[in-house]
């Protein structure tokens, strides 16, 4: 029962945050100088009068402010994001067809970061103060300071231009028309560079976090007790140290979800990856603010969803968690 209450509470909170984001988007359109219809239509107002009229009617721009907000919230809630003037297509279609590519990229990057980051962090902690620790710590410090889009460009330079190993652009080989397993392998080849690039920064974060967390748990009394009892070292690490040290990582992962989505904009721009990040960049270039705001709202919703999942995972993994808190 308590679990249910906890989940319901989180759901309500998620909806409230989402509502806040939609209101924020609404206020942002209002905050711009000039005609909001022109902002929504994009192209700095250089669209035909008929389209502007349609935007005005659609968003109820001739009504009072409160009513406009109500119309806007209702529109977003029913997934009516309007139309992109530049692309002459519904915004929702543009986003839904790009979403899978972004999910593939971000989830792969997240997987790489978690796997590599945690194993390196544990390795560093096991050899604390000696050379593997030094090397890993320095590497983490370096990747923590490198701009993501720049490391992507340098990766293209090295692995696509100098050494022709991996494709630099897109998600599939243009004109190759692969089927089945070939198509899958082709996508994976295209995925390696962008996913690793996006993952690098988070690898650095997970390394630091894991290392610190393991070092802290390593010195606790129950670990000493386990050793005194003569439990084999491997088992102490698996059952006693890692289980306790890795819990904070779940929280960290959910906090980082938002940044991962932001990083996707840069990565997709560098690697011409056909996801919503690239869509946001195109919207920027074309001053298509309605599309940009829609991407903003959708990515925020995704992050809220990730956080919700992380909360649930946490509640399941850690029996100590106080449900309902």
């Amino acid at each position: 029962m308590k679990q249910l209450e906890f989940i319901a509470g989180r759901l309500v909170k998620a909806v409230i945050v989402l509502l806040g984001i939609v209101i924020l988007a609404f206020l942002l359109i209002r905050a711009t100088p000039g005609d909001p219809a022109a902002v929504l239509a994009g192209e700095a107002g250089a669209v035909d009068a008929e389209f502007m009229q349609r935007v005005r009617a659609e968003f109820g721009l001739d009504r009072p402010m409160a009513e406009q907000l109500a119309i806007y919230v209702k529109q977003i809630a029913t997934l009516q994001f309007g139309e992109s003037y530049r692309q002459q297509r519904p915004v929702l279609d543009l986003i839904t067809e790009r979403l899978p590519a972004t999910l593939l990229l971000t989830l792969s990057a997240f997987g790489i970061a978690l796997l590599v980051g945690v194993s390196l962090g544990v390795t560093a902690a096991r050899h604390v103060g000696r050379w593997p620790d030094m090397a890993i710590t320095v590497a983490a410090l370096v990747f923590f300071a490198v701009p993501l889009f720049w490391i992507g460009l340098m990766a293209i330079l090295l692995f696509s231009v100098k050494l022709p190993w991996l494709p630099a652009f897109g998600m599939e080989t243009v004109g190759a028309d692969y089927d089945g397993i070939d198509a899958l392998l082709d996508t994976i080849r295209h995925l390696i560079l962008p996913a690793t690039t996006l993952g690098l920064f988070y690898i650095a974060i997970y390394v630091r976090m894991t290392r610190a967390s393991v070092i802290e748990v390593m010195d606790l009394d129950f670990v000493r007790t386990a050793r005194a009892k003569g439990i084999p070292e491997g088992r102490i690490w698996r059952r006693h140290i890692l289980r306790n040290a890795l819990l904070p990582i779940v929280t960290l992962a959910s906090i980082q979800a938002g940044n991962l989505v932001g990083g996707a904009v840069l990565t997709e721009t560098v690697f011409a990856w056909p996801g919503i990040g690239r869509l946001a960049f195109d919207a920027l270039l074309q001053r298509d603010y309605n599309l940009l705001l829609a991407v903003f709202i959708v990515t925020s919703a995704l992050v809220i969803l990730f956080n919700l999942i992380a909360d649930l995972v946490y509640a399941l993994v850690d029996p100590r968690i106080e449900v309902g808190a």
Partner: protein, 279 residues
């Protein structure tokens, strides 16, 4: 104070960061002397590779000096990094202090507000803010500050919660000092060191954020920035790698130095926490 200074000096990594930053500041200040005039004008033959006579970092397709761009870019990066972090620290400190001092529903309200801003994908919000308010130094600083203050608010709130019940605060309350005075004159000075450490680390992330924004074309077009140079050199990556390589190295070294300095500062200000927990 001298004790803090000695501890900072003993921390070689922190000092190395500080020395690099000082050199960078000198370079940024001297930019108009080293490369007078517009750094983005044509001065040499196009596409000169690095180490060409007179152009140590090469030139771009229009014969513009990459070194001049990198040196002038330092001004904008440092300026935006410092000012936006300062704004974020001020916003975060005020909100965190009020939340931690008054507690109860005010604390609840401010913390929900903070969580809200932490949930929003910060880079997306920064993009939207700069795009809608049109790119300028002002709008970039504003956007970075808006997405960066929440960690400061949480930190300051936590400090205030623990300091709130100390005897010297109780004495000040009994003595009839106004809440504003207690917050700023009594409690805040005791919470300074973690705020300073967070602030100095924030400058690093602000510089990264600024470079990412201008890479996407959301920089102030009046000035040359590192991110803009990388974005402009991107399409030339096959023919002229140096156009995007050097500004990127500049960002990397600056951010690394700031992180090293921030960490050194942390070790110096919180000696008990040093070497424990933080890598």
């Amino acid at each position: 104070m001298t004790e803090i200074a000695t501890r900072l000096v003993r921390n070689a990594v922190g000092v190395a960061g500080l020395v690099f930053l000082l050199l960078l500041v000198v370079l940024a200040l001297a930019a108009p002397l080293l490369y007078p005039g517009d750094p983005w004008r044509m001065v040499g033959s196009p596409q000169l590779p690095p180490l060409s006579p007179g152009f140590p970092l090469g030139t771009d397709a229009l014969g513009r000096d990459v070194a001049a761009g990198v040196v002038h870019g330092a001004r904008i990066s440092l300026l935006i990094g410092l000012v936006s972090s300062l704004c974020a620290v001020v916003i975060g400190t005020c909100l965190g202090a009020v939340a931690g001092y008054f507690g109860r529903w005010i604390d609840d309200l401010i913390m929900r507000f903070t969580e809200f801003f932490q949930t929003i994908p910060s880079f997306m919000l920064a993009i939207v803010l700069v795009a809608i308010f049109s790119p300028s130094i002002g709008s970039i600083v504003f956007a970075i500050a808006i997405v960066s203050w929440p960690p400061v608010a949480r930190l300051v709130r936590a400090e205030f919660l623990s300091l709130r019940s100390r005897d010297f605060v109780k004495a000040a309350v009994v003595g009839g000092q106004s809440p504003l005075r207690i917050i700023f004159r009594q409690i805040l000075p005791n919470a300074f060191s973690p705020i300073i450490v967070t602030g100095s680390l924030m400058v690093a992330s602000a510089i990264l954020l600024e470079s990412a924004l201008s890479f996407l074309g959301l920089g102030d077009r009046e000035f040359v920035t590192w991110g803009f140079m990388i974005g402009a050199g991107r399409t030339m990556i096959r023919q002229a790698w140096w156009l995007s390589a050097f500004p990127g190295i500049a960002i990397f070294l600056t951010v690394l130095a700031l992180n090293m300095f921030g960490q050194g500062l942390n070790d110096a200000l919180n000696p008990r926490l040093a070497r424990k927990g933080r890598a």
